[in-house]
Amino acid sequence: MPELRMNQAIREALAHEMRADPSVLILGEDVAAADGVFKATEGLLAEFGPLRVRDTPISETAILGAAVGAAMAGMRPVAEIMFVEFLGVALDQIVTQAAKMHYLSAGTFSVPLVVRASAGAGLGFGAQHSQTLETWLLSTPGLKVASPSGPMSAYRLLRAAIRDPNPVVILEPRALYGVRETFDPDSVVVDGLGIARKMRGGDAVTVVALGQMVRLASSAAASVADRWPADLWDLETLLPWDHASILESVRRTGRLIVVEENPSTGGWGTEVVSYLTERAWSSLKAPPVRICCPDTPVPFAGKLERRYLPSETWVADQIKALCTDGRRLTPWWEAYAQ
């Protein structure tokens, strides 16, 4: 079985779908001749040629708009947006065009496009290149959004996304492109979007994480598993997220912790918390708790950036506090503000 970095896994998924379906094409800045800035499209130009693997100008609106048009015409474009922030100049094409065309055309058109965008902090790229920004997309009927937690996850999600008849945005934690995993791509079951992955079973507390927070939550959960075994979920698909699995879990454990990489106010975890609180109310034994980042831009300097992100200790301590006395820990910045 090969060991693949996450960018290689993405490349494998693209190659697989391009071989299987001549309607799949790739477009984006430097994705062809240069193999992609994150090397996630390596060698695809050579194999599939310049019509199906297309370098573009620095024109995110044109890239995404072209993806919408190609998809409506029956192709399956995969657009690479180098950093998710760049959606800020072209969000219209995803949210107001792609996500609405099926509805607006009374079902006569569909828009099977995929947008891959790198996301997240941890690499010292500063305030304009380190956000996750799921919430630009989350409240968009007609759209799907997913975020992988590692190579196999990225492989599976991308293949499912390409096959999905709806527009899908995949937010790839860029700090994970170099992370390796050993798995056999050919035996990965591509079972569609919207399925949360159980990473570890337990009855003490439900922990939900996404993207690069999954690893951190996993280590934290492992470190306290003997005393407070967590039911740990990698959400993988954020829109639509797997209501059924997480609801079942929370009804069973009675406790919920969401681990997010985004500002505290308005982060995606609010959706998970409020959905579950409304519906699993009578099962909850303690307040649901969100672990996330402070309400500031992402700082550049290394120490500050590390401080900005949730830590493993925090997650472990919170598991303990919630399971022992139903207590929410005060995030460091709230203490700081007092």
Binding site: L51, A62, A66, G69, G74, P77, T108
Partner: protein
């Protein structure tokens, strides 16, 4: 009366000038009805009608191959009818009824009919331009010979999407034709107050593609220029930017009285009413009578269309 969209389209494609005039009168009468219905409170939301601009949509529709993608704006009723949609389908949508082309989900700004290549019209200025480029990418990859047409107003030439789409289409030699209906106004602002050049077509140079100005009041000129651009695109030589100089005889939307017009401007343009110009070409001795007789017929038809739509159920 023919009500099948493809057959209606074929009528225009015959190249027969009488069919073109007939369709133009149909559109004029349709739009007048829409305005009346709006003022009566029977149309929700908003409407953007196109009286005065009929030669552009009719001219272009008559040379686009049926099924090739055409992407237009919220000012799309004329395009809908020109491309073949039967009036009930268009008015039904504008009035939010089940008989509308999308059953009332979209409304006036989002007409569509995939069967004739009429893609959902888009209400965000400029957004259809890169989408059209994408449709053209699909054709380029498949080699299906389709040519995509993207239609927009003069106001759209200052939005980023216009620029990105034209440059991208140009460097990729995409089979797409960009058609600007320059009616001199974007909402209430005259083009000279918002746009650094007065000929939109001159911007083609920034993309190293042909820029062509055409008299948008003369259907045959529009046809000829559009055909040439389509042929060029189909031959693999890339996009063309066509600027059709035209004018809307009515306000921007809803009940806009269009007080911002320059004095005499409306009258000057009305003297070049595309219906009159075409009628004069067909029947130089009595153009007004020709129009009047077509009008009569369409008034009657439209009255029936209104009845049908009013009687149709809401979704």
């Amino acid at each position: 009366m023919i009500t099948d969209a493809t057959q209606r389209r074929a009528l225009l494609q015959s190249g027969n000038l009488a069919s073109a005039l007939d369709r133009m009168v149909e559109i004029r009468v349709f739009e007048e009805q829409v305005q009346r219905l709006f003022l009566k409170g029977l149309i929700p939301g908003t409407t953007h009608t196109c009286q005065g601009q009929e030669a552009v949509c009719v001219g272009v529709a008559s040379v686009v191959r049926t099924g090739d993608p055409v992407l237009c704006t919220y000012r799309g009723h004329g395009w809908a009818l020109a491309l073949g949609l039967p009036p009930v389908s268009a008015l039904g949508e504008i009035m939010g009824k089940t008989v509308g082309c999308t059953g009332g989900l979209g409304g006036s700004m989002h007409l569509s009919d995939r069967s004739v290549g009429f893609w959902p019209t888009i209400a965000i200025i400029g957004a259809q331009l890169p989408i059209a480029a994408g449709a053209a990418i699909a054709s380029q990859i498949r080699g299906d010979g389709a040519v995509t047409v993207a239609v927009f107003g003069d106001g759209a030439v200052n939005i980023g999407a216009f620029h990105e789409a034209l440059n991208f289409a140009a460097v990729s030699s995409l089979p797409v034709v960009f058609i600007c209906e320059n009616n001199l106004y974007g909402e209430y602002s005259r083009i000279d107050r918002t746009t650094a050049v007065s000929d939109i077509a001159s911007r083609a140079a920034a993309y190293n593609i042909p820029g062509v100005i055409v008299d948008g009041q003369v259907v045959d000129d529009v046809r000829r220029v559009a055909q040439a651009a389509i042929d060029r695109a189909r031959a693999g030589n890339g996009p063309t930017l066509i600027e059709a100089k035209t004018y809307r005889f009515v306000g921007h939307s809803r009940a806009d009285p269009a007080k911002y017009r320059r004095a005499g401007e409306l009258e000057t343009w009305q003297a070049r009413d595309p219906l009159k110009l075409l009628a004069a070409a067909i029947q130089p001795e009595a153009p007004d009578q020709l129009i009047a007789s077509l009008r009569d017929r369409w008034e009657t038809v439209m009255a029936g269309v209104v009845d049908t739509v009013v009687a149709a159920p809401e979704p």
